[in-house]
């Protein structure tokens, strides 16, 4: 198939699906079908794109026929495609899960259109090769996620959404400021050209300051210490299908953006940006996330805090910044998205069967639903890094990279945090799945009533089992996944292939048509 078509279909499919779903807004079945088709289509296209990159290297497409760096380019390298595939897998899983999980009222108010718009924003963020365009895709993603998080208008959701919206708006403005400063300094927003130009800027201090703007902005989106408070305040409020999608993907878009800018653009002062700032942030994120989780008593709030601590691992890989560490970060992202989304999906079934998300009310699920218990254990153990599951391999690679690079402190933190993660997962297991304590008051509570298995609940098992299967596949076939992560890490370590794929030959970049009369290489906004 045509490479250009493969690059635009991940954007066109969800947008077309959103339009159709909005037009068919009174026919929920049709909407669910459209949603499933669009998500599966994106998955198929992403796999096709991976095959194409395997054969022909990094693909790029200039929209409207405007050559880079003047037009907006879409670029697919290994990292982009891996992210596309994994998020499409989550998209398909959630599309199935949503059919029984999302009530008629939420469907009526536009669940499916906004789900597809969210997918559009996520795919756009992964594919774009232009910094300002990345901002636009972030906004597409944000506004759809805003709508999805309040959809249903319960008090919990409104209270959570206000925090989510406010802090993310501020984050967007940081991003916009950063993009503006980059443009003012370098005179371009094309990421491949920026990779060349930013290295030539004389006042490297200014570039470092700009990189910190991006650290703050993406740090809010990725829920890094100390900017993560919005996440546990909001992710437990929407229905399980929505929170699983958010938990799997939204913060990871922030991580993706961070990996992209801190490998391609801001590599001038690694000693400060990576080895100092990112390293400290990664360690503190891991620790605060896992400690926060220990204090929670809601199934999804425990999981939410664990998202925070797991993000720390990915950033740790970026902070160490050796090829092996980048492999670890990419591997960790693949593993984490699948596992974390799955745990949220499990929490939704637990809520259906046990009547609550609260760990104080849930109990004894194992006795009645051993299947669910096993499906919980697979991702939970994997998350904690229990050998031989996928999380173990991810953590092993990161630890090895850390030791090789001499970053013993962060490795110690990572291992300790892994143990604490085990503690949290055990806590959920004991409280929700094992028979309750001998407290007689609790036994009388309504939570002991058992909901019967319905058709809908059975359907919810399908994506959970599928994702658990994928986790096992990643664990057993860790070698091929590692290879894939390695190829991606090689591209990240050496950006020349990316730059060449986008800019092509130097003479096309010298086209005077839109070349702006900026003092682009003079170094600094206020340079005389």
């Amino acid at each position: 198939m045509d490479a250009d078509l493969l690059l635009i279909l991940p954007l066109v499919l969800p947008l077309a699906a959103a339009v159709l779903a909005l037009l068919f807004r009174n026919v929920p079945r049709v909407q669910a079908g459209i949603n499933l088709i669009s998500m599966s289509g994106v998955l198929a296209v992403s796999l096709g794109l991976l095959a194409m990159i395997n054969e022909q290297g990094i693909q790029s497409f200039a929209s409207g026929g405007w050559p880079a760096p003047f037009g907006i380019v879409l670029v697919a390298d290994y990292l982009s495609v891996i992210m596309l595939i994994v998020s499409a897998i989550i998209g398909v899983a959630v599309a199935v899960y949503a059919i029984p999980n999302i009530d008629a009222e939420r469907v009526h108010f536009g669940f499916y259109p906004f789900m597809n718009l969210l997918m559009l924003g996520i795919n756009g963020s992964f594919l774009t090769g232009d910094l300002f365009n990345l901002y636009v895709w972030f906004e597409v993603m944000l506004i759809s996620s805003f709508v999805l998080i309040v959809l249903g208008n319960t008090e919990d959701q409104l209270a959570g959404a206000v925090k989510y919206v406010m802090i993310n708006l501020v984050s967007s403005l940081f991003f916009l400021t950063g993009a503006g400063l980059v443009y003012g300094t370098a005179g371009t927003l094309n990421m491949a050209e920026l990779a060349l130009v930013l290295n030539e800027v004389e006042s490297s201090g200014l570039v470092t300051i700009i990189s910190m703007m991006f650290l703050i902005s993406f740090g809010i989106k990725a829920a890094l210490f100390p900017l993560f408070f919005w996440l546990p305040a909001s992710y437990h409020t929407p229905p399980a299908a929505v929170s699983a999608f958010f938990a799997g993907l939204l913060t990871k878009v922030g991580v993706y953006a961070m990996i992209r800018v801190f490998t391609l653009l801001f590599t001038q002062d690694i000693g400060y940006t990576h080895t100092t700032m990112l390293m400290w942030v990664a360690g503190l994120t891991m620790v605060t996330g896992v400690l926060g989780a220990a204090a929670q008593n809601d199934f999804r709030r425990v999981l939410s805090f664990h998202i925070v601590s797991q993000i720390g691992y990915m950033i740790m890989g970026l902070a160490i910044y050796t090829p092996l560490a980048l492999i670890g970060a990419v591997f960790y992202i693949i593993h984490h998205i699948i596992v974390k989304a799955n745990l949220f999906l499990v929490s939704g079934v637990a809520q259906r069967l046990g009547g609550s998300f609260s760990l104080k009310k849930l109990k004894g699920l194992y006795a009645h639903h051993p299947g669910l218990a096993i499906l919980f254990l697979i991702p939970a153990f994997s998350l904690a890094g229990f050998p031989p599951l996928s999380g173990f391999w991810a953590k092993l690679v990161l630890a090895k990279a850390g030791i090789e690079a001499g970053a013993y402190g962060i490795v110690a933190v990572a291992i300790a945090v892994g143990l604490f993660t085990m503690f949290s997962m055990t806590k959920i297991w004991v409280k929700a799945f094992l028979p309750g304590s001998s407290d007689p008051d609790a036994a009388e509570n309504d939570a002991t009533e058992r909901r019967p298995m319905t058709m809908g609940t059975r359907l919810m098992y399908v994506p959970i089992a599928a994702l658990a299967g994928i986790t096992i596949m990643i664990s057993v076939f860790a070698g091929p996944v590692f290879d894939l992560a390695e190829r991606s890490a090689n591209e990240l370590s050496d950006s020349s292939a990316y730059i060449e794929a986008v800019l092509g030959h130097e003479e096309s970049a010298a086209d005077p048509y839109t070349r702006l009369d900026l003092d682009r290489r003079s170094g600094g906004v206020h340079a005389p």
Binding site: A159, V170, L176, G180, Y183, D298
Partner: protein, 118 residues
């Protein structure tokens, strides 16, 4: 001109930060609006301040006339304004909805709401 605008942007950011520190959600939204305008102005300034013509390409020409303004930063601001408009509309509806349901716009109450159920 740049110096003047730098001070204007600084003043706007200061106002916005002050508003964002308030406990009233409506004021926080106003703070975000002011902040987004400050950022737009920053984008505009970073596109370089020059006395120039509007960058409209004459009929039949391929290039904008010599000495025309930088169109890219204007395009960026325009995009940012449109996005900001959508976000403002959304956040106003959200705050209003939250007020109707929770009967408060005080940020402190929202903090307490979070810890009630834990």
């Amino acid at each position: 001109m740049e110096t003047l605008l730098a001070f204007v942007i600084g003043a706007l950011v200061a106002i916005a930060v002050y508003q964002l520190q308030r406990r009233d959600l409506v004021r926080m939204v106003i703070g975000i609006v002011i902040l987004s305008n400050a950022v737009n102005l920053l984008l505009f300034t970073l596109g370089r301040m020059t006395r120039a013509e509007a960058p409209l390409i004459e009929l039949g020409a391929k290039l904008p006339p010599e000495g025309s303004a930088n169109p890219l930063s204007q395009a960026l601001i325009l995009t940012a304004i449109v996005i900001g408009f959508g976000l403002l509309a959304f956040s106003l509806v959200l705050v209003y909805r939250a007020y109707r349901s929770l009967d408060t716009v005080d940020a402190q109450d929202f903090v307490e709401l979070e810890f009630d159920d834990a």
